[in-house]
């Protein structure tokens, strides 16, 4: 069985190299690019991406950035296996676990594959981003996307001129659902009657479709759109750039202002890079801890950053006030549809005035 798995892994490696046209190979030969931060090191850490892959300018690039930084700081050997299809998850994870001490499966979509493979390598470590697996060698890192998105919803509802907001989702996996629900809750806190258009591409990899979904929302009155869609969401910026003045993109996960410097209203930071970095650090220092890490505003795992220069101070103060209210527990942000259903907005008194902002 182990022999078979190894054979599969080998076959898959060969297929992967052919299929990606030696993309990884090329980077290795050239000795540049993010694929192999090769060092003389005992610790090998491997990122296994979801199908959106490296270059999504979003979730996977963020995880890779954390690993590249860790390679620099701790001298570990950081490698990347990209998954071309969902069928690659098990074979890529197997290969990664065989070759090194730490494996980083990136994304909720790998949940079944992790559950299948993790028990076969009880002495290897896994830092699983965005989903929970309870095997004893897995550290599951999940984020309170709803908390960051809530602030995004507050900001958007304050900035919108049309009273219509949009969400363009990839696939409605739980992290995306948390984004969606948190954003709606935040927007409704400011304006209970706000209209929110929600479209799904059913793909994290189709920027053309992302562009058209976003354009349709703009056409129907939305002036701020939140893409939560990996590579698909890159197309949202094209839609905004095409429209020009009067529309905004609220970016998810990471700063994407290079895609449209004048189009990005702000970005909801998701600390995937930091989580990967810390996972690498733990393995490098022999302090790996299995279990669940749930990171929100309090842990600085989520935040709202990169505000466009046109956002005024009064608006920023209101956002800050809500942030503090979430951190100190005054506001509990809903994390799923059921909680959103039951959500009663807490409107902060005088949130608009600077003195309402806690001095800290």
């Amino acid at each position: 069985m182990a022999g078979l798995t190894r054979l599969n892994a080998r076959l898959n490696r060969r297929r992967l190299i052919v299929a990606s046209g030696g993309a990884a190979l090329g980077a290795a030969v050239l000795g540049k690019g993010a694929y192999v931060a090769a060092q003389d090191s005992d610790v090998i850490a491997t990122l296994v991406t979801d199908t959106a892959g490296i270059g999504d300018q979003n979730f996977n690039d963020l995880a890779n950035a954390g690993g590249v930084q860790a390679a620099e700081d701790f001298g570990i050997d950081w490698r990347v296996l990209e998954s071309q299809t969902q069928a690659d998850y098990v074979t890529n994870l197997t290969l990664a676990l065989e070759q090194g001490q730490l494996t980083v499966p990136n994304g909720f979509l790998l949940i079944d594959a992790v559950a299948e493979v993790a028990p076969q390598f009880p002495d290897k470590f896994i830092v699983f981003i965005d989903a929970i697996d309870e095997n004893p060698n897995v550290q599951s890192v999940v984020f309170k996307e709803h908390e960051g998105a809530f602030l995004g919803g507050i900001l958007s509802a304050l900035v919108t001129q049309t009273g219509v907001l949009g969400i363009v989702g990839g696939i409605r996996v739980p992290p995306v659902e948390r984004y969606e629900v948190g954003f709606i809750a935040g927007a409704r806190t400011i304006n209970p009657n706000i209209e929110i258009l929600i479209s799904y591409a059913d793909s994290f990899e189709d920027p053309t479709l992302g562009q058209d979904l976003t354009l349709a929302q703009f056409n129907n009155g939305a002036d701020i759109v939140l893409p939560i869609a990996g590579r698909t969401g890159v197309g949202s910026f094209d839609a905004a750039n095409e429209r020009g003045e009067g529309v905004w993109i609220l970016a998810g996960d990471t700063d994407q202002s290079h895609l449209g410097p004048e189009a990005q209203l702000a970005y909801i930071k998701k600390g995937v890079d930091e989580a990967v970095y810390q996972g690498c650090e733990q393995v490098a220092n022999d302090t790996f801890e299995a279990g669940i890490r749930d990171l929100g505003l309090t842990e600085a795992g989520m935040d709202l950053l990169g505000f466009h220069a046109s956002v005024d101070q009064g608006t920023l103060d209101i956002v800050e006030a809500y942030k503090q209210a979430i951190i100190d527990g005054t506001i509990a942000v809903p994390a799923n549809d059921a909680e959103l259903e039951a959500f009663e907005p807490t409107v902060l008194e005088g949130g608009a005035t600077p003195e309402a902002t806690p001095a800290s």
Binding site: V18, S20, A27, G55, Y200, D202, D206, L213, D238
Partner: protein, 294 residues
């Protein structure tokens, strides 16, 4: 709902259908000449990538478009060489083109831009006539042209003869090899146009696998359309409009249909089209068959 069927919906339909129409016309020419072309996806991807690379190199999106179409034609040449000269299995050759295009483009992004996954932005093909992309107009003009070519010109009829019965065609002196080469290279060029539209017509950059299966949908359109230009174009439009309706419906608040169902709409329509429309439209009889050995 009153403003549901708008100009925006029509525009979205054309944007969605245009790459499919190009690739479908390409697939049609190839299949009519007797060469199975499941390589449309790879040819589109090649065209999309080299349009961006060409624009990057020359600074002109027009030259970029020409380079993109040229590169896709080269992919067509390779397919033709494998299928016609080497008499290889046409499905295997097509699969190889698709894998090669996916790998080569991902690899070249790293060589040229030094990073993975996607290229930098380059200038777009300019719009003409008030915001309509020139390739949309080209796609509309293309369909009757292909019809005329296939059914009204000697060259076109020879192409179809090569696809129906290569042996018979050879016996009356038609150069099957030449006709098939022409058709397959043209199919590469046309599929390449579809790719160019995706990368520098709609967007301004290339990302890996950005065709997202559109080449296969175009091939399906050829088959639904009964291997006729107008049929294939109608099938491509059907798919494009289903996609556009889906997009518009999702962006309409309070639309009384589940989003999951809406996303499935194009595929549902495709299924209905297959079961309803394809009564007995036959494939070219010589499809996938080699001509006699010379």
């Amino acid at each position: 709902m009153s403003d549901f069927f708008t100009v925006a919906l029509l525009t979205a339909t054309l944007r969605m259908a245009t790459p499919l129409v190009f690739a479908a016309m390409g697939g049609l020419l190839s299949e009519r000449s007797g060469v199975i072309n499941i390589a449309l996806e790879g040819m589109m991807l090649t065209g999309a990538f080299f349009a961006v690379a060409g624009t990057h190199w020359t600074g002109s999106s027009w030259l970029g478009a020409i380079i993109g179409v040229g590169a896709a034609s080269v992919a067509g040449c390779i397919h033709a060489f494998w299928c016609i000269t080497l008499r290889g299995n046409q499905i295997v050759a097509g699969t190889a083109i698709n894998l090669m295009a996916a790998g080569l483009t991902a690899f070249l992004i790293q060589i040229i831009w030094g990073r993975a996954g996607g290229t930098d932005s380059v200038s777009q093909l300019p719009d003409v006539f008030g915001g309509v992309n020139i390739l949309i107009i080209a796609a509309i003009v293309l369909v009757p042209l292909v019809h005329f070519y296939l059914f009204r010109t000697k060259q076109g009829l020879h192409t179809m003869a090569s696809g129906e019965s290569p042996q018979a065609a050879e016996s009356v002196g038609i150069d099957v090899t030449r006709n098939r080469y022409l058709a397959v290279v043209a199919s590469g060029a046309l599929a390449g146009c579809g790719g160019v539209f995706l990368s520098i017509g709609n967007l301004s950059y290339f990302t890996i696998d950005m065709t997202a299966g559109r080449g296969f949908i175009a091939l399906a359109a050829v088959i639904f359309g009964g291997w006729t230009p107008f049929g294939a174009a109608a099938a491509a439009l059907l798919f494009g409009s289903a996609q556009a309706v889906q997009i518009q419906a999702q962006a309409t608040s309070g639309f009384p249909v589940s989003p999951d169902l809406l996303v499935a709409l194009p595929y549902l329509l495709t299924l209905i089209a297959v079961t309803g429309l394809i009564r007995n439209a036959p494939a070219p009889a010589g499809l996938g068959k080699h001509a006699n050995a010379h």
